[in-house]
């Protein structure tokens, strides 16, 4: 199981490095391998049932109670099959779509990283995994949206998607941690059986989980990132932004449905937010002229529909939600690829410029018809069954059955009309494309995928009985937290549901015919543009910039001495506070007798220090000042010799030398030395320096008297040779005992170097200007 997960990431790496050398070979190999991966997961079909779940555990951070756990129940199996099957089909489609792109290797690598992360997410058996994979899908989505990275729009859209979904991810992390604290376990199966109804954290958990799910699934008011994300190449939209990633939010709601079932806040929030998104998405979709934008808004709408259906919470509703999820994935994946084909062959995705393409692209048209029929909900396609299930659920909802049914009806009518726009308008209407005559059918790899998914809608509609029993049944059981039998039928007899379906189709057709009036009637919506939720995002981003600017102006004076004063006084105050509060002041001054018995010549360094100190304050020449600082440093270094710390001493000598040489490199570039501060300011500086010195002395005295208690010194002295195999204790501490510290410090040095280089180049640039 672990190997299967990792294989996706390895394949991504391989694609990154070897794609350019064997583009044809690799781009054909990838879908095949992904199909193989799908095949591997299909072997669990039958093994995983409503009562039988599989858990694969790999030790990870066992000390913290976090192991890698892959939890395969009906729900995760359903999603894994969806992800891998669609992955294989859409990657095969990408082979044709991306052919000849300069950075196709990156494209495939990101897609595979996304796929592997998505698989990881749905199989996650502990909350840490859920979070990690959740954010990985956000990041790979960011990379894919920004694939055309030279376009400013694409970069902006990518950043927006990342900020919205990653912020939601952080909220989710909070929610997950609260869940695990309450359940006292990180493992999903444990959390699922825990009773949270008495938990004081419940409101927070709910809000945080909702934030995670609604941002990811582009629900109102976080929906705005999804239409913008259509900047991504079309296979990405087909895969991430319709069939899989945006469904991660729904997966999350499904996953934790057993936990929250029966809580009013859960049901009402889902119904309300879902219904708003459903209606808003459908209404706005009809107004769009770009095929991909239409599909994006329909996606928002459909996700809202599924979420509202989860909110109903009855058995019938759960079944309907899952069934409609599959319906949507099939027709939407197909339609996106169809939009990609028209874009690729006819050169536009604008529905006003497309028409009558069926003669030129018969196979794509066939796929469009199949997908359109499923979207509209025409029997015997799966879409019909899905819609029947929805109406059944809403008509028997415990609350608000009329409102819900009306909302379903309205959005379904709009779906029918949109299906007609796409399947009929683009392929059978008047010839409109400018380069109609040059247009021809897309390459085999590009019509196979949409056609397969379209046929899938038909085929699954026909074998609905087996589908319901074997795949949807176990999934529904894990969503509901109890064993449920799932049944599907094409023919229910004459009843109100069938009547509603028929009226929906007829009204949809009517809506299609009056679509131009629809546009005009809703033109007032444009006036509301400045009130859309996206403005909050822009305002927040803008505010962040302003905040950063303001605080930079406040903190960054640009004068080195101010920085030094700030750092030193801050350190002194904090150190003094902790020092005196915890009573670290040694009770008696440590015995300084050894110092007193030393020879007189050992005081010569003090003379050096004194002279250096005096000259620094009195000289007006920068060079003299430099040399005086060096003198002071050498004096300190010689003190270390007398106290038998040769390593420290050598280091100090060398550092002083290097510092001096560095100054020599730049001294001619420095301006003439001025005294910028008046006397009172200078005395203030001296005062701060003196306080800092006193504080350091006090700390050292305390360290000296605490040394005998802690025993660190002796530990290092005794173990240096036997354990560290070295006689130089300082060096053994640096490279062995406390090597991690050294690693950290060295990394800091590297970053400093990069900073200096960058600053210096900034300087050069401004000079050139």
């Amino acid at each position: 199981m672990l190997a299967a997960l990792i294989s996706g990431y390895l394949l991504a790496l391989a694609s990154l490095f070897f794609f350019k050398r064997f583009p044809r070979f690799i781009s054909h190999l990838i879908p095949l391998l992904v199909a193989g991966l799908a095949g591997y997961y299909y072997t669990f079909w039958g093994e995983v049932t409503a009562t039988n779940t599989l858990t694969f555990t790999y030790p990870w951070v066992s000390t913290l109670g976090v192991d890698l756990v892959f939890y395969l129940d009906g729900l995760s199996l359903f999603f894994v099959l969806l992800i891998t099957t669609f992955g294989a089909i859409i990657l095969f489609y990408s082979e044709g779509y991306m052919r000849g792109h300069a950075h196709a290797n990156r494209f495939f690598a990101y897609m595979l990283v996304f796929m592997a992360s998505m698989i990881g997410l749905v199989l996650s058996g502990n909350i840490i995994q859920i979070y990690i994979f959740w954010e990985l899908t956000s990041i790979s989505s960011f990379l894919l949206i920004a694939y055309e990275s030279h376009g400013a729009e694409a970069r902006k859209a990518a950043l927006q998607a990342l900020l919205v979904t990653a912020a939601g991810g952080l909220a989710l992390l909070g929610g997950l941690i609260l869940l695990s604290m309450e359940a006292e376990s990180m493992y999903v199966p444990d959390i699922l059986v825990h009773d949270f109804s008495q938990s004081p954290y419940l409101p927070y958990i709910l809000v945080l989980i909702f934030l995670g799910a609604f941002t990811k699934s582009a629900q109102f008011p976080f929906h705005f990132w999804l239409p913008n994300a259509m900047q991504a190449p079309t296979p990405v939209s087909a895969y991430l932004h319709s069939a899989t990633m945006v469904k991660a939010g729904i997966f999350l709601l499904f996953r934790f449905n057993p936990v929250f079932e029966g809580m009013e806040a859960w049901h009402y929030t889902l119904m309300i937010v879902g219904s708003i998104s459903m209606l808003m998405g459908a209404v706005l979709a009809m107004l769009q002229k770009d095929l991909k934008k239409i599909l994006a808004y329909v996606t928002i709408s459909t996700l809202g529909l599924v979420i509202a259906t989860i909110g109903i919470g009855t058995e019938a509703a759960i079944k309907a939600a899952l069934a409609y999820l599959l319906v949507h994935a099939l027709y939407k994946g197909s339609m996106f690829m169809i939009a990609g084909n028209t874009d690729h062959e006819a050169g536009t995705k604008d529905i006003r410029k497309l028409g009558g393409l069926a003669k030129k692209m018969p196979l794509t048209a066939a796929a469009a018809v199949l997908a359109g029929l499923s979207m509209a909900g025409v029997p015997p396609l799966l879409g019909f069954i899905g819609k029947e299930k929805l109406y059944e659920a809403s008509l028997h909802a415990p609350v608000a059955e009329f409102t819900l049914t009306a909302a379903y009806f309205l959005s379904s009518v709009l779906y029918v009309s949109i299906a007609l726009i796409i399947a009929y308008g683009v392929f059978f209407g008047k010839r409109k494309a400018e380069n109609y005559d040059q247009t021809h059918e897309a390459h085999f790899s590009m019509w196979l995928g949409p056609l397969l998914l379209g046929m899938g809608g038909l085929f699954l509609g026909l074998i609905n009985h087996a589908l319901a029993k074997d795949i949807l049944g176990p999934a529904v059981s894990s969503i509901a937290g109890q064993t449920l039998d799932m049944k599907m039928k094409l023919w229910h007899g004459f009843n109100e549901v069938l009547l509603l379906s028929a009226i929906t189709l007829a009204s949809g057709l009517g809506m299609y015919l009056i679509r131009h009036h629809y546009d005009r009637a809703l033109s007032f919506l444009k006036k509301l543009r400045s009130w859309r939720p996206e403005m909050v995002y822009f305002k927040a981003l803008d505010g962040l910039d302003k905040l950063a600017l303001g605080q930079t102006r406040f903190i960054q004076s640009g004068y080195l001495r101010n920085y030094l004063i700030t750092i030193i006084s801050f350190f002194t105050i904090v150190a003094a506070y902790i020092y005196f509060r915890s009573g670290l002041l040694p009770e008696q001054i440590p015995d300084l007798a050894p110092v007193r018995t030393r020879n007189v010549y050992e005081f010569t360094p003090l003379l050096l220090i004194g002279v250096g100190f005096y000259k620094i304050f009195t000289t007006r020449s920068r060079l003299t000042m430099l040399v005086s600082v060096g003198l002071l440093g050498f004096g300190v270094a010689s003190v270390f010799i007398f106290f038998s710390a040769p390593d420290v001493s050598i280091t100090q000598f060398l550092v002083e030398t290097v510092t001096l040489l560095f100054f020599m490199l730049i001294i001619h570039r420095l301006p003439r030395h001025h005294l910028l501060d008046n006397d009172s300011r200078r005395f203030f500086h001296i005062g701060v320096a003196a306080l800092f010195g006193c504080m350091m002395t006090l700390i050292l005295l305390s360290v000296e008297s605490a040394e005998s208690v802690s025993g660190f010194k002796n530990y290092y002295l005794e173990n240096s040779l036997p354990v560290g195999k070295g006689q130089n204790v300082v060096n053994v501490i640096l490279v062995d005992f406390r090597a991690l510290d050294t690693l950290g410090e060295v990394t800091v040095i590297c970053i400093t170097a990069l900073g200096i280089v960058a600053l210096n180049q900034l300087n050069l640039k401004s000079e050139e200007q």
Binding site: P646, D647, I650, T651, L654, V655, T657, V658, L661, F662, M664, L665, I666, R669, G724, K725, G726, Q727, N728, V730, N731, V732, L734, V735, D736, A739, L740, T742, L743, V746, T747, I749, C750, T752, A753, I756, V757, N760, Q761
Partner: protein, 135 residues
């Protein structure tokens, strides 16, 4: 600073700086010295070279960008840190080879780690020096 005296002297002295720096490095585990100190010794030599002969001649000494030194150094340190992990021990666990080479001494992951420190410090100080220096 471009005096003939210094320029001639540093050409002759630079190998000595290098040799001394290596000496400081390898004695470091048992006697005063070690990667950081050795790196500073070499840096001082190269800085003199830079001051006396200019950027082009000094850059030519290395044959590669100083960024490479930093990268190699970090890589060496991380490699030394990973040896323990692959043996199932904590990160940075020390491993020593049984052989002892004359003049150089024992070899083990702490020495590799120290070599990483050496390379990084040389790389960083020279990167900064080259960035600041103008002929």
């Amino acid at each position: 600073m471009k005096t003939l005296l210094l320029a001639t002297a540093i050409r002759l002295l630079l190998p000595v700086f290098l040799l001394f720096s290596l000496y400081m490095f390898f004695r470091g585990h048992d006697q005063p010295g070690g990667g950081f100190i050795a790196a500073l010794v070499l840096t001082i030599g190269v800085l003199f070279h830079l001051l006396a002969l200019g950027k082009d001649k000094t850059l030519r000494l290395f044959g590669m960008s100083t960024y490479w030194l930093i990268a190699l150094g970090l890589a060496a340190m991380i490699l030394a840190a990973l040896v323990g992990i692959f043996h199932g021990d904590p990160m940075l666990e020390a491993y020593w080879l049984d052989i002892k080479i004359p003049l150089i001494g024992k070899l083990g992951t702490p020495i590799l780690f120290d070599a990483g420190v050496y390379l990084v410090v040389v790389g960083v100080s020279l990167t900064i020096a080259f960035a600041l220096f103008e002929d």
